[in-house]
């Protein structure tokens, strides 16, 4: 067992974990934060997306011990206009990928604002187009196929931020 301390959704949590416990399982099973979902447990669906020091990561491929001293935000710690926008634009159906989509979108907007390019970014492109959003959000699968609504919700919020 290793004792780790993380700031999770604003409060400092101290817990003993075996080194093979993933950050996702630590959050879900030890801290009761079941917002981040386990869809594949192998970095292939994005349902487990959380923010580590503001950066989006897949919690399923992270060992909890590696995040000792870090600041983790799960959907439970999020209060963001995207949440309302997801409802208004129907950016989900079953809801299982939604926590990950929203956390990922928050991280994505921050990355874009910081100048991070994507594979579809042309030289000099600054605008967050729908094509950009689709590429940047491609690490979050939605089997219900709510992609249009998700993109609409993100564009809506991104537009407001920009304006």
């Amino acid at each position: 067992m290793t004792e780790i301390r993380m700031k999770v959704n604003g409060s400092v949590e101290s817990l003993d974990v075996e080194p093979w416990v993933s950050l996702l399982d630590a959050l879900r099973e030890r801290l009761g934060l079941t917002g981040p979902k386990k869809g594949c447990d192998q970095g292939a669906c994005g349902a487990c997306t959380v923010l580590a020091d503001g950066m989006r990561i897949n919690a399923c491929l992270a060992l909890a011990v590696q995040y000792d001293g870090r600041e983790i935000t799960t959907i439970e710690g999020v209060a963001h206009p995207l949440q309302e926008a997801f409802v208004r634009h129907d950016g989900f159906q079953c809801g299982y990928c939604t926590s990950g989509q929203i956390c990922s979108a928050i991280g994505m907007l921050a990355e874009h604002a910081a100048g991070m390019p994507s594979v579809v970014t042309g030289p000099g492109d600054r605008e967050l187009s729908e094509t950009e959003v689709r590429e940047r959000m491609s690490g979050n699968l939605c089997r219900c196929g709510a992609y249009n609504g998700i993109v609409d919700a993100i564009m809506d919020v991104a537009g407001k931020d920009a304006g």
């Binding site: 159906q93 079953c94 196929g145």
Partner: protein, 756 residues
């Protein structure tokens, strides 16, 4: 349009909510992480289970070595056929009890050493932590005696035999002499198609939390059919149904994959009973592939003959799909071909092989999704042969009555769907020649296809309760896996009772509630709506009776037909009483109305209705693709779908469902394929990394339109929207690729190597 068929409320009601794009009621729970799914419930002493899968296709386990697994810290028990408590065998199928369809397979897990498919669960490890359970499961050693297995669909396909027919799912049809007509036709096409196995891949892997208290069982499980699940568990574990509580308020996607009872559920319940612990079995993604069936592969032949004007003289559609020796569901692959075209001669056959693989199961529009790929591709190819616009060819063959038996269509607006779609899509801009439209270097292609899915209704029991505060509670064991089930029923109930939507609460996803319809066959919304409307009618009747007994009531002497439910009460002209007033006057704190639907009477009515009508949702799919001329990569760049789904209850959630079907159809068209090793029967891509469901970047804006004409044979005129939009979708893509490149791809998925 007036109602020809009973079920809709005779009392005048407004449509204040039905038809409006209302935000889904569980939106907040799903966007804040509050929604708890089946694997997210804690119990004191909760233990965790993991499965051990067979690695051979057929044979017997001759030895089990669990020593290493038992030595893992935290392991509580390792259950195998040598020590597991017995479970009763799966019930045999009976038409009198459709819950007998709930058996995913006929295998009595852990009661047998027999291996029936590669991946069958042969042992369950129960441990204090999920990590220990999974690690220990990897240490269980099984020794086998192998037997020859038949696992190669392509090799076995020539040995197929005709499927058994039943009244709702015929496997053959003949009209005239289609073979002779084909031979004599001046223009014809004769194509062979193949479609691979698919998996549902709901993002929530199947999970069960099972808690025994004596002979009482509480189960958290994402299911598409609470009553079937409960009855099945009652039969397998020998306890009365009333002892079993199934809680399923959130289902993280189903698409058919959570309609039957599969090994994980049974083994979680078994493990909980064997260990005396609350047990959670959250399947790994790989375990889902190995224990939950998917869509059958198919081979199909579609041959069409036409005269020079494009009138169909022959339509031949034959198919081979597969089931398993231990179960599985034959699919109605030629269903669209029965009803879509006015061909003079028709020959339809559905054939089947049985393999030593996990049983297949329903996946979104079983039969029609893959059947329309073949049919609608062939119709498109015939249009090329004729030099005719593919929409025009379809319109020339659009029947007035059902082509096989002359039955009436309950609803049929394909002409209108194509007209509206062509307009919205800009079909006129399409240069009919192949390979000439370009956008920069990209080749551009446009394709159309018809969507077709039969409309069904299932029995549903509903209780409506009106409280003294005027609030309405709808109680029905609905299944919410993303359709917005509760939202739609709240809208319907609010209108039927004439109350604001905020005054309606829908209770669902719980076996303690009146049994709802299963979430399958696109039937839930209409089935529950019938129950809600009937219960509302009953409730209003009771309320009116109460009012009429009150001396000062302005409703005295009024009959139900004269009364309008609005503003939270019953009114005649400008005068009436609120529900609260009626209840207060009667000295009651609530009133309830219950509607129960029995299976037998329901089936009798369904069959008699089917004798008169052909009932279906239809649509016109318009797809534009871009094809890279160097690499053959195909990208869908635009989509318009126009659907005839009767009355739309909630445009927002219906849009999402219809788009979702199209997205899955695009996946089916371009990238989805379960790889079953033909030597071993083992699934080789049991992961979301290697089974390619569409990602954000694959999906363009999808415009969905409705004709919004009520179907007179359905409650409120609504037809289910869950499945129709995946049908025709893959053909629309294939037809667009044909237009862009001149190449007809007949084997799904249309990967670049088939286009290059």
């Amino acid at each position: 349009m007036t109602t020809k068929y009973a079920e809709t409320a005779p009392a005048t009601t407004g449509t204040k909510y039905v038809g409006r794009p209302i935000d889904r009621l569980d939106g907040l729970a799903k966007t804040t992480g509050e929604a708890r799914f089946a694997a997210e419930h804690q119990y004191p002493g909760l233990a965790h289970a993991a499965l051990v899968h067979a690695t051979i296709a057929r044979g017997r386990v001759t030895a089990v070595d669990t020593a290493a697994a038992r030595a893992v810290t935290g392991v509580i028990e390792v259950l195998t056929h040598e020590n597991a408590p017995p479970m009763k065998p799966a019930p045999k199928f009976s038409v009198l009890d459709l819950s007998s369809l709930a058996s995913g397979t006929s295998v009595n897990y852990l009661a047998t050493d027999e291996v029936h498919w590669n991946g069958q669960p042969m042992a369950v490890v129960v441990a204090e932590t999920p990590e220990a359970a999974r690690h220990a499961a990897s240490l269980v050693r099984l020794t086998y005696e192998e037997r020859p297995a038949v696992v190669d669909f392509a090799a076995e396909e020539p040995n197929a035999v005709q499927q058994r027919s039943n009244p709702v799912m015929p496997s053959a049809a003949d009209k005239g002499d289609a073979r002779a007509a084909l031979a004599a036709a001046p223009v014809s096409v004769d194509l062979r198609f193949s479609t691979p196995p698919h998996h549902h891949n709901a993002i929530e892997p199947h999970a069960t939390t099972a808690v025994w208290d004596g002979d009482e069982l509480t189960l958290h499980e994402g299911t598409q059919n609470i009553p079937w699940l409960r009855k099945h568990l009652s039969q397998r574990f020998g306890v009365p149904e009333r002892n079993i509580r199934v809680l399923s308020p959130f289902v993280g996607g189903g698409f058919g994959g959570k309609g039957s009872v599969w090994a994980g559920t049974l083994l979680a319940v078994l493990a909980a009973r064997a260990t005396g612990r609350a047990v959670r079995l959250a399947l790994t993604r790989e375990s889902v592939y190995h224990t939950v069936g998917g869509r059958t592969p198919s081979t199909q032949r579609v041959a069409l003959g036409a005269d020079a004007e494009g009138n169909l003289t022959a339509l031949i559609h034959t198919s081979v799909s597969r089931t398993s020796r231990i179960g599985g569901m034959p699919e109605q692959i030629t269903s669209g071909s029965r009803h879509l075209y006015a061909a003079q001669n028709v020959h339809l056959r559905q054939n089947l092989v049985q393999l030593d693989l996990l049983a297949n199961t329903a996946m979104r529009a079983p039969g029609e999704s893959i059947g329309t790929f073949a049919l609608e591709s062939a119709v498109d190819e015939l249009a090329w042969e004729l030099g005719l616009d593919p929409i025009e060819l379809r319109m020339r063959n659009e029947p007035e009555r059902d082509p096989l038996h002359g039955k009436q269509f309950a609803h049929r607006m394909l002409r209108e769907a194509y007209a509206l779609g062509a307009d919205r899509f800009g079909w006129r801009e399409r240069d009919p020649r192949p390979g000439v439209m370009r956008d920069g270097r990209w080749l551009v292609g446009m394709g159309v296809a018809t969507a077709y899915h039969p409309s069904w209704r299932m029995p549903a029991s509903v209780t409506l309760r009106l409280g003294a505060d005027g609030g309405v509670v709808v109680r029905c064991g609905l299944h919410e896996m993303g359709m917005g089930a509760a939202t739609a029923q709240a809208q319907i109930a609010a209108d039927a009772m004439g109350v604001p939507m905020e005054a309606v609460r829908v209770e669902y996803g719980d076996s303690d509630l009146p049994p709802g319809p299963g979430a399958g066959g696109s039937a839930q919304t209409a089935s529950a709506a019938a129950g809600v409307l009937a219960a509302a009618e009953k409730l209003k009747k009771s309320l009116l009776a109460m009012a009429r007994r009150q001396p000062d009531s302005p409703l005295r002497g009024r009959r139900l037909e004269e009364v309008e439910a609005r503003d939270g009460g019953l009114f005649h002209g400008g005068r009436g009483q609120t529900y609260a007033e009626i209840l207060a006057g009667a000295g009651r704190d609530h009133v309830e109305a219950a509607v129960k639907s029995g299976m037998l009477s329901f089936m009798a009515r369904t069959l008699s209705e089917r004798r008169r009508y052909v009932k279906a949702a239809t649509g016109a799919q318009f797809c534009e693709v871009r094809v890279d001329p160097d690499t053959g990569e195909v990208r869908v760049s635009r989509w318009v779908g126009v659907f005839d789904v009767g009355t739309v209850i909630n445009e927002k959630t219906a849009n999402s469902q219809l788009r979702g079907g199209i997205v899955m159809g695009i996946g089916m068209a371009l990238s989805e394929e379960t790889l079953v090793d033909q030597r071993t029967g083992r699934i080789m891509n049991p992961s979301l990394a290697e089974y390619h469901v569409p990602v954000h970047a694959d999906i363009p804006r999808i415009d969905v339109h409705y004709l919004d004409e009520p179907d007179p044979t359905m409650p409120l005129g609504l037809i289910g929207v869950g499945e129709v939009s995946i049908t025709g979708a893959a053909a629309a893509v294939a037809n667009a690729v044909r237009h862009a490149t001149g190449k007809r791809v007949v084997d799904l998925p249309i990967t670049l190597d088939k286009v290059l």
